[in-house]
Each structure stands twice: as C-alpha cells, then as structure tokens.
Amino acid sequence: MTSQVDVMSKFQAEQDTRKARRIDRHTVSAIAVFVLCVVLILASRLVSPSLGSWQQVLTVLTLASFLVVLSFGQGLVILTGGLDLSLPAVITLGGVLTTTWIGNGPGAWYMLPFVLAICGGVGLASAIGIVWLKVPPFIMTMATSIIVSSAALGLTNGTPRGASPDVLLLLMKGSWLGIPAPVYFLVIFAVVGWIVQSRTVFGRYLYALGTNRDAARIAGVPITLVSVLPYVISAVCAGFVGMMLVGYANGATLRMGDNYMLPSIAAVVIGGSSILGGNGNFAGTVGGAILLTTVGTVIAAIGLEQGLRTIIEGGIILVALLLLREELFERLRGLSGKPRSGG
C-alpha cells in the first residue's frame, strides 16, 4: 500500500499546477529598504550639491552604526513578541560605567566585558520579570529603565567623570583606507547579526517562539532560555552602544541614550519586521537603521525652520512606510498574500 500511496502523491503533485507562495518577502523587503536609502541619498543632491556624495554615505554609515547595534537587540526582543524600552537607560549605564570605572586607564580588556556583563544583568532582571513574574514586557522594561536611570544618576552624583578607553577611541575614530573604522564594524556586525538571527539554532528558536509559543514549547524548544536570552543580548548591545558613544565623543553623559528609544523600534519595523513578533530579517533592520539616519542627514541640510523640517521628516518616514508596504510588493510581483487557511 505504501508504494501505491507514493504513486498517488506523485500523481497529485503533477496534476496540481497551482503554485504556492515562496518565502522571500523579507528578502525583497530588505532590498527595497536599501534601494530607498540609495534613492534618498541621490535625491538629496537636490537639497544641497554636497550631498549625495561618497562622503555622505560614510557619515551616514558611521552614525548608523549605533542604531544598527541597538536595533539588533531590539529586533531579537521584538522577534519573540516583546519590546525593550530599557535601551536608553542601559546605553547610559554602559557609557557611564565605562568612563567612571575604566576611563583612559589600564584594565580595559577585562573591565569592558565586565561592564557589558552588568548591562546583561539588567536585561536578565527584565527577563526574569517577564518570563517568571509574567509582567508585560512593555511595563517590565519601562520599570527597569526607570530604575537603571535612577541608579546611574545616584552612582555618578549627577556628573559622569572620566574619558574613553583608548580601544574605544580606536574603534570609533580610527580609519583604514580612507574609510572610518565604524563602517567596517557596521558591516561585520551586520553580517554576524544576520547569521545569528537567520542561520543559527538560537535564531530559529526565536522565530518559533515569536510565531507560536505553545507550538514551540510542544516541539521541544527550550522556551525559558530562548525567552530570556533576547533581553540579555539586547541589554548587552545597548551597553555596547553606550561604549561606542563614549568612544565617539570621548566621554559620557546621563542623557546619552535618550534619543534612541523610538528609532530602535522604528528601524526594526521599517525593516519589515512585525511588531507582533515571529517574522523579520536583520538585513531589513540594518536597512531601516541606515534609512532613518539618512533621513536625518538630509533633514539637517534643509534650510527651513524646525517645525517644517520635523513635518518633512515625519512625511518621509510615512512615504517610506507606504512604499515598503507588503501589498505593494505582492502586486508588483503579481503574487499576493494567500489566506492563511489554505484552500
């Protein structure tokens, strides 16, 4: 009988000429974001003749490196269906601890990992609240954020001291072959991040968890570990962004993370991930981060009053979102979102 059923399925396969959809939506979406970046950079020549240059690309990439690292962690958390609001506070914590504990003295090689471990501990604390105490991620990370900022404030007595360790200065200020070091770093980080998210067992588990927690559990995914790790990684990334900012500006302030909250989420979402978790691609997120930074450089060059520039900034983001709409790709490719419950 087995052989006969085999024959039957072959038969069926040959007869059924209707096609199903391939999974390449996220690749397309990531490519589209990058195309949009390029278009925006080229179009910015209209704003100022010095724009649209290789120099602009390098500046954008340098400035985007912070957001890329940050939104990697945020992206992992979002992938599992959570949200990390503690990033700005942890950036500050990482930066402040780096300058006050390490400064430009010796011991960076073991102290930097130690500071990152402390940041990871903050992420672990959030994760414990979320996974075991069942506090919604939004509230838990908001609470850790308030607590960590408060602690950083108390710790520094309001004035962060010290300067950047040399190794961070090298990372953020060095250059090779005329290209700033952070650009190399960004490329390497993007590749590694993409591999971690899309090609590792851990990454696959995250997708499983974000798609359907119960199913993932039944399928034997170690869900506790997989739920906790994204928050830890996210906090470590934020702590590292704090260090990068320290290297970039050779010092720390208590507000250094403030402007990164919404961009870290926006980069992930513009990159094609769903805020509800379970899908997305780090390549898209990298594109989203670069796109947001590009918008910033273009906006900075427009000679209008701040209010109007703000309106234009919102408008560009909106247009980008509309252009990156899933339906639009589908229509372009003559494919469409097939309803979930197959025919």
């Binding site: 059923v5 000429t17 199903a20 851990f202 696959r204 559990r217």
Partner: protein
C-alpha cells in the same frame, strides 16, 4: 432534546433550486485556488462537497460566505443573482457558514459570540447585557445546548462546545443555505448535529456539508459534488456511488479499502515496557494505570472530555499529575516539560490536538517546522546548515509521504493535510521512541489519512511505541494492537487484537454498554 428529530418526511420546498454557482474562478495572484467550480444546491437537501485538502473547498466556502469575491463566474440564490460582499451581506441573504477554523472570539461570552455583530438593544439604543444573555440562552436551549452558560467566556469552553457554538451560530443566521465546513472535526458525537441538520432541511434549508469522513457524508447527505485541483469534477448521487468511485474522483485514481494493520499484536504483548503509568490522577483523571510496550500501537477511545486530553498532556510534560507515577524505560520520571519529555529514556514526543494553535509555526517553512526539535543535529557550531536541514526534512517528510515540493513553502500556506503530515514528520524526526498522537487525522482527507496510518504502522514495526487517541473508531480498529476506553477519567475497559470491534467499543464508550444511543463516531 427540544427539537423533534424529523423523519424522512418530504422537506418544505423540495426540488426547488436554492443556490447554484457557475464557473467560479478565484486566484490569489498567480495562485489559482478555484477554477470552473460549479454546483447546484436544492432546497431541503444536504449536499456534500468532497475533495482532497487543497482542492479548493475552503476557498469555495469563503466565496459562498462573502469573505472573498470570485474573479469570475456567478451565483444565483433563490432565483436572484447572489454576490455577497461581506459576511453580513451573505447573512442578510440567508446564507451562513460554520467555519473549519472556528470564527469565535475567545474573550467574549458565548451569548455575545452567538449574536455578533449586532446585540439586542435595551435602553437608549445601548446593547442590553440581560437581553444578550436571554437571547443567547434561548438559542442554546433551542439547540439542546443548555449545559452551556451563555454568560461564560468562550475560551472557558472545551473545544467541542466551541465547535457547537460555531455551528449553532450558523444555524441561527441561515435562512436558505447553511454551509458546514468540517463541523465534526472536534465532535466525537455527531448525532446532535445530524438531528439539527435534518430538522433544518425539513424546513427547506439547503445544507452544504464538507467533511473528510465519508461515513458521515453517507449518513447525512444525498448528493455530493467532488472538487479536484479547484475544478468541480462531478456531482453524484451518493447512493449510486461506491467509496472507490468517490475516492477515484477525488484523487484521480482508484484507492483501496483500508486493511487491517495490526497483525503483530501477539509479538508486542511480550515486548519490554517502555512507558508505564500507574495510579495517575488529577483533574478529570482517576487512577489511570497502563503499560505501553515496545513496538505497540495503543489506541485510546473515548467520547470527548473523558480525560484523554489531560492524559496526553500529562505524558507530554505539559501538566503535572496530582498523584501517580510515570516510568519511562523502567525509570520513574517527573516530566518537567515537553523538551524534558523528549529527553527521558527513549524520548516521548507529542502531536497536539489543535494544529493551528499548538502545532504549526505558520510563518516558517514546512522544512523548518519539521526539523525544529532536532535543530542542533542539523547544525554545525550552532549554525543551521541549509543542506542538512533540507536532507533531514526530506527524509522525515518521506516517512509520512509528504511531497517534497511543499517543504520550502510557509507551512501556514499549506493545506490542513500537508500541515498535519509535516507535524507528524516533526514528532518522528525527534527520534523519540514513544509517540503521543492526539487525533492525528483530524480534519484531513482520505489520501492523507492513509499516509498517516502507514507512517504510524511503519514506526511501530521498527520498534517504536505509539499511544494515540482518535475520535474515529474505525481508525482505532484499523490501527491499534490494543485499545483502552476512557470513561469518566478512568480506563473503563480494554480490548486486544481481534477483540477490537466497533460495536464493543461503542458500548464501552458510553459506560457499561447499556446506552440506547449509538456513539456515532464513524458508524454508518
């Protein structure tokens, strides 16, 4: 039972065409779901819609219910053109559907679900809570479901009751045409449904009945339309068609009568015990003890809610028993969770009850779904190797006779049958020596069923042990070496080998065999 069960009286308006559809076509982008589908429903008739998974049945149902609009073709309802633009429009014309994937809201009450989208109004045009409760209670009573509290949150109901609510809602909204898409998937007992379907047809309702259970179809329907690859192949009088004929129309070639798989019963009786449960109790379970041996297929037969769900979930590590011990390969174990269950002894893998909510990971490819539990083994240094993943998923897909071309598609886009095959492939891929299969053929078509049976038999022949529950008795009769009947949370009786007989099982299912009513699962 308030409604009188109608006899074979002549239905009201019999012979009148209720709904006819012609040359319907629907494509999603490049994917053609339905092409040249045609069918005529007579008033007072129960008309079956048959076809393999993926033949286009669900799309046709959606077109009839106003969820999607056809690209071409037309429909005529009671002599007037029918082109609903929404569910509500379809209802307004008297067409209502009970969907396969239940369309109920877990956070609302039963009454609210029944009356959506418009609730009874009270003071100043506001919806009235009392009125809603009252109206819900009346509807439930009318359909013999007064054990369901209309004020209860839907999510607190067992799956079967949720399915009943879904069906009742369709009954309430249907005037001319009632569409029932796999209405018995979660119902072990179909008599209730049949009675009400007959009562409705007696009043002139046309019912389109979609089910993979041919026995049900034969018990209820007079004619059947067969869909294959999106086209309607033929409409036949069921009394004039053999199962073989229908099977041939559905899949395009002749099928075979099911064979008796369990031939090696005697051999398994003395095989070593791999899983032993003693004195397990908790929630609905009371003192459940049994042993599962190497190479054995142990069937569980039960009406719904007799503790089978708790039993399976406890063995999968998803819940803790209040008392009793579980021994795997002779060692007592406290199962901490599914991933732990997979690791103890030879391993225990669980195929869950609800495919949509506990089984598939809809955005991921079928291949990724299959290899999920064994990801580390298809990886090098934590990196998933695409080649290994493909190889492993192909290997296991083959065990369940799943076509390889589906492996790269998101599993959510596949038909229910292929999803189920992939999930079975997943539990087999774990390498676990014991499989817990909870209703492994729920809502799948005949061809897929045969593939699943074969896979289960092969697994046991190679020394694996299987504990499976099925809502269809013939399945148990066909597959199991041994069968236990759960009743009221206890093992009520046990049958071995040739003694597994539908009649005997039916008697045991309802306790003591003294029941006047047949448990109709699969009986015709």
């Amino acid at each position: 039972m308030q409604e009188p069960v109608s006899g074979p009286a002549v239905p009201v308006g019999a012979g009148e065409v209720a709904l006819s559809i012609e040359a319907i076509r629907k494509a999603y982008g490049a994917t053609v779901a339905v092409e040249k589908a045609a069918m005529t429903l007579m008033a007072g008739e129960v008309h079956a819609l048959l076809g393999e998974n993926g033949a286009g049945k669900s799309t046709l149902v959606k077109i009839l219910s106003g969820v999607v609009r056809p690209d071409a073709g037309g429909m005529v309802l009671k002599g007037r053109p029918y082109a609903p633009t929404s569910i509500s429009a379809a209802r307004a014309e008297g067409v209502a559907t009970a969907f396969q994937e239940l369309s109920l809201l877990p956070n609302l009450s039963v009454a609210e679900n029944l009356l959506l989208p418009r609730l009874p109004k009270g003071v100043a045009g506001m919806t009235s809570a009392a009125g809603t409760w009252q109206a819900g209670a009346e509807i439930l009573a009318r359909y013999g479901l007064d054990h369901i509290d209309p004020g209860a949150a839907l999510e607190s109901l067992p799956l079967a009751d949720r399915q009943r609510v879904e069906i009742v809602r369709a009954f309430v909204n249907a005037r001319h045409v009632l569409v029932l898409d796999e209405p018995t998937a979660a119902l072990a007992d179909t008599q209730w449904l049949f009675d009400h379907v007959r009562a409705a047809t007696a009043k002139g309702m046309a019912v389109l009945y979609i089910s993979h259970r041919l026995s049900e179809v034969r018990a209820l329907c007079s004619r059947a339309t067969v869909l294959r690859n999106g086209r309607s192949i033929a409409t036949v009088e069921l009394s004039a068609a053999t199962d073989g004929d229908i099977f041939e129309m559905m899949v395009g070639r002749r099928g075979h009568a099911a064979r008796r798989a369990a031939t090696s019963t005697a051999a398994t009786l003395n095989a070593p015990v791999v899983l032993s449960v003693s004195g397990m109790a908790g929630d609905t379970l009371k003192d459940v003890s049994f042993e599962l041996r190497k190479g054995e297929i142990l069937g569980i037969a039960a009406l719904e809610g007799q503790g089978q769900r708790e039993l399976f979930r406890t063995l999968a590590g998803l819940r803790q028993p209040a008392s009793g011990t579980i021994s795997v390969d002779g060692v007592a174990q406290a199962l901490r969770g599914p991933s732990h269950a997979l690791r103890v002894g030879g391993g225990i893998a669980y195929l869950p009850e609800e495919r949509k909510t506990e089984g598939i990971l809809s955005g991921l490819s079928a291949a990724s779904n299959i290899v999920l539990p064994i990801l580390p083994s298809v990886s090098k240094a934590g990196l998933v190797s695409g080649r290994n993943e493909r190889a492993a998923s192909e290997e296991h897909a083959q065990r369940v006779e799943m076509s390889q071309r589906y492996l790269s598609f998101p599993i959510g886009d596949l038909s229910g049958g292929n999803q189920q095959k992939a999930l079975l492939a997943r539990v087999m891929a774990t390498g676990a020596q014991t499989l817990l299969l909870f209703d492994p053929t729920r809502g799948v078509d005949v061809g897929t069923k045969q593939s699943i049976y074969a896979a289960i038999s092969n697994f046991a022949e190679q020394g694996g042990s299987v504990l499976f529950y099925s809502s269809e008795l013939p399945e148990i009769v066909q597959l199991a070496h041994r069968c236990m009947v759960l009743y009221g949370g206890r093992i009520f009786s046990e049958f071995t080998g040739e003694d597994i007989d539908e009649q005997a099982l039916v008697a045991a299912l309802i306790g003591h065999g003294g029941a006047e009513r047949r448990a109709s699962a699969g009986v015709h």
